[in-house]
Symmetry: C2
């Protein structure tokens, strides 16, 4: 393996530029670690004229990423354009069809077309790698596919969207509303062009679906991820949850329950403040993997940005340079099974916030509604009355979502609430 | 690759039994993930009669691990006996000499003989893997060798001995002396036969030296690890450090400074209570890797025990079954360079605890001694006098160890201290 490994990079945003920098600065290190040169033959992006702060004069330019993928001097297509379909998918398919490896940071494409692309790559005997698509610089795809491959994974959890975690952290630390912090984040350029990808949980849901496929040997099934964004989280809930010892996170959870199927959720949850997930501040990401032998493994690091994401891209490139070619999702794509979606089937404790009118017996009616639904109360706290309604916080014992929905529906008919109740799942971590 | 991969396990303690259990319970899963059967041909241990809670009747028995390593039906020696030399080394060399792969959990052997064994393995083109030797179930060797291979690593830190972290945690939470908790740990069977391996930092030092080799491309150099155990940590220091916002950890730090060489320390350090390292309780391990592109990556999990360590062993076995063969320390052993040891060369803040006699001008003399050594004070706290001497805590600004030693030597001549001063490095995390 003394021939160079020749890359073609499609997409020269921050991550693409980061990869170019590593190639330019760490040639010696890469040669020492792989036993060969890793070179860049050609690049492709929307504008050739833009100054990107790196010298691109030594590389061929292609306007068309598909043409880049087809070049004879490109062994690996590094796809960093993004987008579920369009040029990213076209270039990826073109590269795979010609028996070239592909390294991508494209979570949307992999979450939607991963099965088809994996089958294509494996039929050709080439690698299709996506470490950079999940949790930025954290080598979590490798940890799951290889480092923990001796385990039956029982659950994957994680905070996988830095922007959402930044917004929730900032709301708490500055006591600001969601709307105010959302605007700050937009002004700082932290949000995707379509902010729903971030705050709606879509981007993080893509990542969760990819990890679930590896963990459980199932076909990627993004459509079955239960998605709920952070846009309805209020500063009041952040504060009250804090009073009860919790923090609110946009938390991804994937677990396989025998007989119930695969549960995949990316929703706001409460986690204990003192847990590793509860301690996670700002834009950092964290993935928690429970293996039947390993126990709980926690991985933490930057989930985005030029350096971290480029580091993940290079880890895939280096594996290919070293000749490490694995099935895309850890076992042959043709052996991945379809899964039955299970929606929040596992019982959980819930946080309830109610605005209770100042009427005799009001609390009793709420307690009765819970009791009738078979839900018992772990902790309850009533705050002083303000403007005629008192905030009441309840932490329930474990209940099913069905029972909870049943109780919440009953609250309506009690006539003692001044506003719609808020219910947020408490995740055991 | 449809032929089975056939293992021989030497050593049937908790980890060996854990590996046998995974092989017995997860045959389907291993086959799906590797495309072949992973079978166990033979085992070896000191006593064939002992009941280990698993059925070993299907495997050949060898009294001699070297004979096990030489068997024709063994493709991979799984060395779980431990010990720097003796049977472990003999069996490993025998296996490598016959062109068989070796997977080991033996940190002492690898830290002392790693260079020689790696050269032997690489000359034969076989794998010698040691994920289980470092931080139990945490896939940190893989993260460093592969997942972060595109980075120049700037520092590795970690809590890598669960027993020491358990002792320090228990001292703090129960307010007990080192001696009392040491005895508890011994009674609970948490300590190695030679407790200095744990509380003296030797075991953790072995692990640090192995990670440093991969990170910096240097030959393993355990002899240059600066070792200091936890046996002189008092409950008073734990309490006082807590007052100042810190926790005491047996912390490993390896960093390469250009011009200064490789610094490797395994010593008690203060870390901020709120940092991931400061939050680490009980026997859990944590490794923190700073990469020039990835930024800080934190890995956390069980550092010992049947399941976690067996999970790490199996990760290496699975890599071999998949045909992933890498140089032992991430680059060919013959290209690893010798390093110049640097002892605590980087300046750091220090925690000082002094017992000050109740004399006029006492504090001034201490402050003067620090000032004369060029050390400035960040924070100082004096507690109420008890039995004629007042505890004084000082957190210094950054200073070299030389300057600190100079100041501490001067303290002696001030005549205002009632006991020897305590100085502990504060690590930036």
């Amino acid at each position: 393996m003394t021939t160079p490994l020749r890359l073609g990079i499609a997409g020269l945003g921050t991550v693409g530029v980061g990869v170019v920098k590593i190639l330019q600065q760490h040639g010696d290190l890469l040669r020492a670690r792989t036993g060969r040169d890793i070179t860049l033959s050609a690049v492709s992006a929307r504008s050739q004229k833009k100054d990107r702060g790196v010298d691109l004069s030594g590389y061929a330019w292609e306007d068309d990423p598909v043409a880049l993928a087809a070049r004879d001097d490109v062994d690996v297509l590094v796809e960093l354009m993004g987008g579920t379909d369009g040029p990213a998918k076209a270039a990826t398919r073109a590269a795979l069809a010609r028996g070239k490896h592909v390294v991508t940071a494209n979570k949307a494409m992999m979450a939607v077309h991963g099965q088809m692309l994996a089958e294509q790559a494996e039929a050709k005997g080439v690698a299709l790698r996506f470490e950079a698509a999940v949790a930025g610089g954290i080598p979590v795809v490798k940890a799951l596919t290889e480092g923990l491959a001796g385990n039956r994974v029982t659950r994957i959890m994680g905070v996988m969207n830095g922007t959402c975690n930044y917004i929730l952290t900032r709301m708490e630390s500055a006591g600001l509303s969601y709307a105010k912090v959302f605007k700050e984040a937009a002004d700082l350029g932290y949000l995707e062009a379509d902010p729903q990808l971030d705050v709606g949980g879509i981007d993080a849901g893509h990542k969760l679906a990819l990890l679930a496929s590896i963990a459980f040997g199932t076909q990627v099934d993004f459509d079955s991820v239960q998605l709920e964004g952070i846009d309805r989280i209020t500063i009041e809930d952040i504060t009250r949850a804090g009073d009860m010892g919790y923090r609110i996170k946009l938390l991804g959870v994937a677990q396989m329950s025998s007989g119930r199927g695969l549960e995949q959720r990316m929703t706001p949850c409460l986690v204990p403040r003192k847990s590793p997930l509860g301690q996670l501040r700002n834009a950092t990401n964290m993935v928690v993997i429970d293996g039947d032998s390993s126990g709980q493994i926690v991985l933490r690091g930057a989930g985005a940005g030029e350096g971290p994401t480029a580091s993940a891209v290079m880890s895939d490139v280096i594996d290919i340079a070293r000749g490490l070619i694995l099935p895309v999702f850890g076992q042959p794509a043709t052996t991945l099974v379809g899964s039955t979606p299970a929606v929040a089937s596992a019982p959980a404790a819930y946080y309830l916030r109610l605005s209770l009118l100042d009427k005799p017996g009001a609390l009793a009616r709420i307690a009765t509604a819970l009791g009738d639904a078979g839900i018992s109360i772990d902790r309850m706290r009533q705050y002083g009355h303000a403007s005629g309604a008192a905030p009441v916080l309840i932490v329930t014992h474990k209940a099913t979502r069905d029972a909870l929905d049943h109780a919440v529906a009953k609250f309506d008919s009690t006539g003692v609430l001044s506003a719609a109740p808020v219910a947020i799942r408490i995740e055991e971590v």
